[in-house]
C-alpha cells in the first residue's frame, strides 16, 4: 500500500540574526523505512520534534526528501508529488485555509477541489456532516467553533471525495469523547466498506493503544520500533509500573523509601517506578504499612503501556500524552 525506504530529510542550519540565536542543522528524518498494509490503521507515535510531521509531509508530496523513496499504491511520490493529492486525503494540523468558511461550504469546496461535480459534492457533504453529527453546525463559520468542533469540521472536509488512504495528523486533538467516537466510527465504516487505509500521527499513547493495528515509534528522526501495540508491549512484559502519590512529600526517613528514590521518575508528589514483579510486590508491601503508609495518598500497579515501551527503547517520553 505505502512503502517508504531509507527516507532522509535534513533542515539546513539557520544563521542567527541580531538578538536571535541561530539553529544548527537538524536531521528530521534519518533513514526511515516503513511498510503500511492495505486496510490497516498504522500509527506514527513520538513526542514533538521526533520527525512525524516531516515524514508525513514527504508522504503527502508537500516536501521533497533529500534521499529515499516513497511508493503509494504503485506510484512514486518522490518523482511525482502531484499524484499524492489524487490518492490520499490529508488532514493537517492547521485549518487556516478553511477558518473563514462555514462548515458546510468548507466540506463542499474541498469535495469540489477533489474533482467532484456540484451534485456529488453536495450529496457527500450532507452524508459526511450527518455521519459526524455536524449538521446542526453546518451554517456556522469554522473560526467561531470550539477547538474540538473545528478539528471535526476539518476532518469532515477530509472525508468528502473518497480516497483509499487517509493521512491524519493528530485528528482528535481537543475533541470531547463524543467527537472522538464519531471520528473512529467514521474511520471504521470506511475500512469495513471500502478497505480504506489510515496513517495516523499521534503523541497520545492511550489512543495509539486502542485504535492502531500497528505502530512505528519515532525518536529523533529514526524508527526505533515497529509492531502491533501488543507486540511492542511484550518487549517489556517482565516489568510492572508502580505509581506512588505522596500526601505532602515522600517519607525519606523510611529507609526503604529513601532507597527507591534514585530509581523513581519524580513529577511533583508522584513517583513512577518500573520494576520486576517481585520487586513491585515488595514495594507495595513497604508502602502499605507503617510510616510510609501514613504519608501515602494513592498508589497504582499497572502492566506496561506504550509509554513504558517507549522508555525501554531508549526514547525520551516527555512530550507523550496519556489521556
Amino acid at each position: 500500500m505505502c512503502a517508504v525506504r531509507d527516507l532522509t530529510k535534513t533542515y539546513p542550519a539557520v544563521r542567527g540574526r541580531r538578538g536571535a540565536p541561530g539553529t544548527p542543522e537538524v536531521k528530521a528524518n534519518d533513514g526511515v523505512a516503513l511498510e503500511v498494509r492495505r486496510g490497516e490503521i498504522f500509527g506514527l507515535l513520538g513526542p514533538n520534534g521526533a520527525g512525524k510531521s516531516t515524514l508525513v509531509r514527504q508522504l503527502t508530496g508537500l516536501m521533497r526528501p533529500d534521499s529515499g523513496t516513497v511508493d503509494i499504491l504503485g506510484h512514486d511520490i518522490v518523482r511525482h508529488p502531484e499524484r499524492a493529492a489524487r490518492i490520499l486525503a490529508y488532514l493537517g494540523q492547521e485549518s487556516t485555509a478553511l477558518d473563514d468558511l462555514t462548515v458546510s461550504l468548507a466540506a463542499e469546496t474541498t469535495g469540489r477541489l477533489r474533482g467532484l461535480d456540484v451534485t456529488q459534492a453536495r450529496e457527500e457533504r450532507d452524508a459526511v456532516l450527518d455521519e459526524l453529527g455536524l449538521t446542526p453546525l453546518a451554517a456556522r463559520p469554522i473560526r467561531k467553533l470550539s477547538g474540538g468542533q473545528r478539528r471535526l469540521a476539518c476532518f469532515a472536509a477530509a472525508l468528502v471525495g473518497e480516497r483509499p488512504l487517509l493521512v491524519l495528523d493528530e485528528p482528535t486533538t481537543g475533541m470531547d469523547p463524543v467527537a472522538r467516537r464519531a471520528v473512529w466510527a467514521a474511520v471504521d465504516r470506511r475500512r469495513a466498506e471500502r478497505g480504506t487505509t489510515v496513517l495516523l500521527v499521534t503523541h497520545n499513547v492511550i489512543e495509539a493503544e486502542t485504535v492502531l493495528d500497528r505502530v512505528a515509534v519515532l525518536d529523533k528522526g529514526r524508527v526505533i520500533a515497529c509492531d502491533t501495540p501488543a507486540g511492542l508491549k511484550e518487549k517489556v512484559a517482565g516489568e510492572v509500573r508502580v505509581d506512588l502519590v505522596w500526601r505532602e512529600r515522600a517519607p525519606l526517613e523510611v529507609p526503604e523509601v529513601a532507597a527507591l528514590r534514585p530509581r523513581a521518575d519524580e513529577s511533583g508528589r508522584r513517583w513512577t517506578l518500573r520494576l520486576a514483579p517481585e520487586e513491585a510486590r515488595a514495594v507495595v508491601a513497604t508502602v502499605t504499612g507503617g510510616a510510609a503508609f501514613v504519608a501515602l495518598d494513592d498508589f497504582t500497579l499497572a502492566t506496561p503501556s506504550l509509554e513504558d515501551v517507549y522508555l525501554a527503547l531508549g526514547g525520551d517520553t516527555q512530550g507523550l500524552v496519556k489521556a
Binding site: 500500500m1 512503502a3 498494509r37 492495505r38 486496510g39 490497516e40 490503521i41 503527502t60 508530496g61 508537500l62 516536501m63 521533497r64 499504491l73 504503485g74 506510484h75 508529488p81 499524484r83 499524492a84 493529492a85 489524487r86 490518492i87 490520499l88 486525503a89 490529508y90 493537517g92 494540523q93 492547521e94 487556516t96 485555509a97 473563514d100 468558511l101 461550504l105 468548507a106 469546496t109 474541498t110 469540489r112 477541489l113 477533489r114 474533482g115 467532484l116 461535480d117 456540484v118 463559520p141 473560526r143 471525495g161 480516497r163 483509499p164 467516537r181 473512529w184 474511520v187 471504521d188 475500512r191 469495513a192 466498506e193 471500502r194 478497505g195 486502542t210 485504535v211 492502531l212 493495528d213
Partner: protein, 274 residues
C-alpha cells in the same frame, strides 16, 4: 474505538503480503480548471461575510476622506478628474493589492497552503479564484467612491460605465501583484509591509496630480500598473474622450494582469511544495 480487525477488511492484505511490482492503482480524478476556479471563487467570496467587511468599509472611507481633503486644494478641470479617478482606483489597490497580499502571506506562513496543495487542484484555479474574489470585493466601494467624487467635484456621470472595464482590468493587475507579493514574501509581516507600500504608492502616485511631480516620481508613476487604470478612468470625464487612449491604458492593465497572475501562479507552486 476501532473494532474492525484489519484481517476482516475487504481486500485487506495483512495475511497475504502485497506483491511488489503490482500495477499502480488508478488515481482519483483531477479537479478541472474552471469548476475548481468557480469553487475557490465562491468560497473566497463567502469569506467577505465572515472576515473582511470592516476593511472594505475602511477602503471606501479612506478614498472619500482623501477626496474631501483635496476639495479644498483642487477647483476643477484635469486635477479634479485625476483626484476622483485616483481615489476610485485606490479602493481597488487597497483591497486587491494590500488585503490579498496579506491574505496569501498569512495563508503561506500559517500552513494554509497545505490544504490546497494536497488537493488535485490546478494552481491557477487557487490564485485566480482568490484574485477574482478580491477584485469583486472592490466593486461596491469603487462605485460609491466614483459617484461621490463626481457629485463633489461636479464631474459628469455620463461615462461611469467605464468602471465595468476599469475594475476587472485594474483589479486583475493589482490582485496579481498582491498575490505574487504575498506568496513570495518569506515572512507574513513582509507580505503585509509590501502590500501597504504598494497601496501607499497607488495613493501618492495615483491621487496627487502628476504635472507638479519631479521627473523621477513621474517615472515611478509610469511603472505602477494602477496609474493606467486611473488614466483610463480620468480621460472619460472629458466632453469628447479619446477612446483610443482609454483602450490603450486598459490594454496595459490587462497585460500587467496576465503577467502578474502568471507570476503569482508560479509563486504559488513554489510556496506549496518545499
Amino acid at each position: 474505538m476501532s473494532v474492525v480487525p484489519a484481517e476482516a477488511v475487504p481486500g485487506g492484505a495483512l495475511a497475504a503480503e502485497e506483491r511488489p511490482g503490482r500495477a499502480p492503482a488508478a488515481l482519483g480524478p483531477r479537479a478541472r480548471l474552471w469548476p475548481s476556479l468557480g469553487a475557490v471563487y465562491r468560497a473566497q467570496l463567502s469569506r467577505a461575510r465572515v472576515a473582511r467587511i470592516p476593511l472594505l468599509f475602511v477602503a471606501t472611507f479612506q478614498s472619500i476622506g482623501i477626496m474631501i481633503l483635496m476639495r479644498g486644494v483642487v477647483d476643477g478641470g484635469d486635477e479634479a478628474r485625476a483626484v476622483v479617478a485616483g481615489s476610485a482606483v485606490l479602493v481597488v489597490a487597497f483591497v486587491a493589492l494590500n488585503l490579498l497580499a496579506q491574505y496569501f502571506g498569512q495563508l503561506r506562513s500559517g500552513g494554509g497552503l497545505d490544504h490546497y496543495a494536497t488537493l488535485p487542484v490546478p494552481p491557477a484555479a487557487v490564485v485566480l479564484g482568490a484574485a477574482g474574489a478580491y477584485a469583486s470585493f472592490t466593486v461596491p466601494g469603487t462605485i460609491v467612491t466614483a459617484v461621490f467624487g463626481c457629485v463633489l467635484f461636479g464631474l459628469p456621470l455620463t461615462h461611469l460605465w467605464i468602471l465595468a472595464a476599469v475594475i476587472p482590468l485594474a483589479g486583475a493587475a493589482l490582485a496579481g501583484l498582491g498575490a505574487a507579493l504575498g506568496l513570495l514574501a518569506p515572512r507574513p509581516e513582509l507580505a503585509t509591509l509590501l502590500g501597504q507600500l504598494g497601496m501607499s504608492a497607488a495613493l501618492l502616485l495615483g491621487v496627487l496630480p502628476a504635472d507638479r511631480m519631479p521627473a523621477p516620481v513621474q517615472l515611478a508613476r509610469d511603472l505602477l500598473p494602477s496609474t493606467y487604470g486611473v488614466e483610463a478612468f480620468a480621460r472619460t470625464f472629458g466632453t469628447h474622450p479619446d477612446w483610443a487612449f482609454v483602450l490603450g491604458d486598459l490594454a496595459v492593465c490587462a497585460g500587467v494582469g496576465v503577467v502578474s497572475l502568471a507570476v503569482a501562479t508560479w509563486a504559488y507552486r513554489r510556496a506549496a511544495v518545499r
